[in-house]
Amino acid sequence: MRKRLYLLLFVGLFLVLSYNIMQMPGKSTVDAPAYNDTTEHYLNESIEETGAINVVGAILADYRAFDTLGETIVLFTSIVAVASILKVADQKKKEDDHE
Amino acid sequence: MVLLNVIIIVFLILCAIAVEKTKDLLSAVVILSAYTLMMSVLWLILHTPDVALTEAAIGAGVTCILFIAVIMRTERYER
């Protein structure tokens, strides 16, 4: 019963969202609102400003390099976090072995 | 191209539902891997090779290995 209710809820959510989506900018062309002067600038100037012909690489490591720094820190944090849960201290391991 | 796009989307939705319905977690991981690979194919069709490459390596490769490693250490079947 509860599962049916959840299913109904999520189907309803999907229908509402789809109805909203139908009113959004449609087929992707160069006229779409997201394709604006920023994009043009990236595509036209990146070779002069960064010297990289792959614009994705240029944005990743130059224009928005701070995001990438944050993302390497996410990786670093995940290592520390996983180690803080899973690594076993020396003494405890020995005690476990004795038992 | 549009037809292929639609087919892949339908396939993705079916895969996602299959992941949800499968009781065997190992099969679910394999389906998830197929789902991710299909997603990277879709991204290739949508002209984003950078993302497709990364998703194929990280999403389909590393994530699934980690999932399998954990399922091997815990339970295989969902109750």
């Binding site: 909203n20 009113q23 959004m24 609102p33 997201a34 600038h41 944090t77 803080s84 | -």
Partner: protein, 493 residues
């Protein structure tokens, strides 16, 4: 040079987190002292920044010297600097306390990792406040969520794992919802910079209302989950009550507030007052806040574990802040800001004093607090001050924030909210007063009624006294802080 300070602050925290592993072999006090030094440096530079911003006005910091439409930009205004100063000062106090009592449940081998996570947590919080970019906020939010969860699970108890798991799942749902909102806004504006997005939203409101409506829904829900606003609060009591005491203080006093600050930023700087009023967000927020204030207190009354009780009390107090936001007036915003300050101080004092009791006496059950005021007078005295603040007794910060909220409600013409405020104050009294009464008035069979200062490390006592003093001092002289907060509220629009 002063304009470099924001990035230097961030890098100091990051660098501190990165060099802790190098000190593994040395004695641990070296690491903690170095960390304290870094915290004080950042504190001083935050004060310098605040002075600079007040005298010379806000400024932007463009990373990589790129224009705001191309790169990432930090915005240093009164809002971001004031709250970063608040975060750093509160964390310094909690940090000093934690050098005496990080031990509560954290294994000795894990100290290094605990402090790494703490400094990355600070890095993420400062980054969130400084940044002027929606996607950058998302990245920092993910760093923040992964660090907060791991300083809960680092205690390695059974219940910590399940609490952390529930927290991480809901957190991730929240983050992805927020990211979806960013995608929807990017779709119609083509920018991720907050100011450019805001311009795009204002001009796109007539063209693509569906996008903006859906984006508001996703973003407010996503951050609402992370900030534990009422219907999404289910993770909070477990998570905050199982964490080590100093972590609970940080989580409850600071981290939740950061999410609320993101919410304020998004509602007021991205969408603007006109749009959020057009889609009735203020009404929704007011209703949710009122229900949360009442229900959080009712849940808190039913608890016997004192830290769980404090967790539920946080849910109720977040309701106060959301109520201030929901009034969408300068007064309401100012009152919400003031309550962020006062709740931060009071909750930190409560969690730390309870932590001292747990450290010294190993009791967590409310019913065992009989006569404890005579064995631990300092801790229970600070607890009482903070609890009175929560109830809203005059001379404390809690009274001033309630007064401000009431005045803002009168100004907005919502008399019902004043009734809610008063009822919620009574409910707060219902669960805080019994603890104080049993601590100071009831007899304990085993112990005599002789008052003597408890034997806990000085590094734990001094922060408690400082917090208690601050609660009363700001309660007596709120004028300076209020004018600063008004400037912060003005800098948002």
């Amino acid at each position: 040079m002063i304009t470099q300070l924001p990035i230097i602050n961030l890098l100091l925290f990051l660098g501190m987190a990165l060099i802790i592993p190098l000190f593994k072999k040395r004695s641990f006090s070296l690491t903690t002292n170095l960390g304290l030094g870094v915290l004080f440096l950042v504190w001083i530079s935050s004060i310098v920044l605040l002075y600079h911003v007040i005298t010379e006005g806000a400024f932007y910091y463009q990373l990589g010297n790129y224009d705001r439409m191309l790169g990432i930009e930090l915005l240093i205004n009164t809002f971001s600097v004031l709250f970063s100063l608040f975060i750093v000062s509160l964390v310094i106090i909690i940090y000093i306390y934690s050098t005496g009592d990080a031990t509560e449940g954290v294994a000795e081998k894990e100290y290094g990792r605990y402090y790494i996570l703490l400094f990355i947590l600070l890095f993420a919080m400062l980054g969130i406040l400084y940044t002027n970019d929606l996607f950058n906020t998302y990245v920092f939010m993910e760093i923040l969520s992964i660090t907060t969860v791991s300083i809960i699970s680092i205690k390695r108890k059974k219940e910590n794992y399940t609490a952390a798991f529930r927290y991480v799942m809901l957190n991730e749902v929240g983050s992805l919802s927020y990211l979806f909102g960013v995608a929807l806004l990017y779709m119609i504006t083509g920018y991720t910079n907050i100011e450019l997005v805001s311009e795009g939203v204002q001009s796109g409101w007539s063209l693509y209302p569906a996008n903006i409506l859906t984006a508001i829904g996703f973003m407010v829900t996503g951050i609402g989950i992370k900030a534990a606003i009422f219907p999404f609060h289910i993770w909070l009591p477990d998570a905050h009550s199982t964490a080590p005491s100093s972590s609970s203080a940080i989580l409850s006093a600071v981290v939740v507030k950061v999410y609320i600050l993101i919410m304020i930023k998004i509602l007021f700087r991205v969408f603007g007052i006109d749009i959020i009023q057009a889609v009735h967000i203020p009404t929704v927020l007011l209703v949710i806040a009122s229900i949360g204030m009442i229900m959080g207190s009712i849940f808190a009354i039913a608890q016997t574990d004192v830290k769980r009780m404090l967790g539920y009390s946080s849910v109720a107090q977040i309701g106060y802040i959301v109520m201030g936001i929901g009034m969408v007036s300068m007064l309401g915003l100012q009152a919400a800001f003031f309550h962020i300050f006062s709740h931060g101080l009071m909750k930190a004092a409560l969690f730390l004093s309870v932590g001292a009791v747990i450290y010294h006496k190993k009791i967590r059950n409310v019913n065992e607090f009989d006569g404890i005021g005579f064995q631990m007078p300092v801790a229970m005295f600070v607890f009482s001050i903070a609890a009175l603040g929560m109830i809203g007794v005059p001379l404390t910060t809690g009274f001033i924030s309630k007064l401000n909220l009431g005045l803002a409600a009168l100004d907005a013409g919502q008399v019902v909210l004043i009734v809610v405020l008063i009822v919620s104050g009574f409910l707060n009294a219902l669960y805080y007063l019994p603890i104080m009464i049993s601590a100071f008035l009831k007899d304990n069979k085993d112990q005599q009624r002789v008052m003597r200062v408890e034997k806990i490390p000085k590094t734990m006592l001094v922060p408690l006294v400082v917090l208690g003093g601050l609660i009363i001092a700001i309660g007596l002289f709120p004028g300076e802080l209020l004018s600063l907060l008004e400037a912060a509220a003005l800098s948002l629009t």
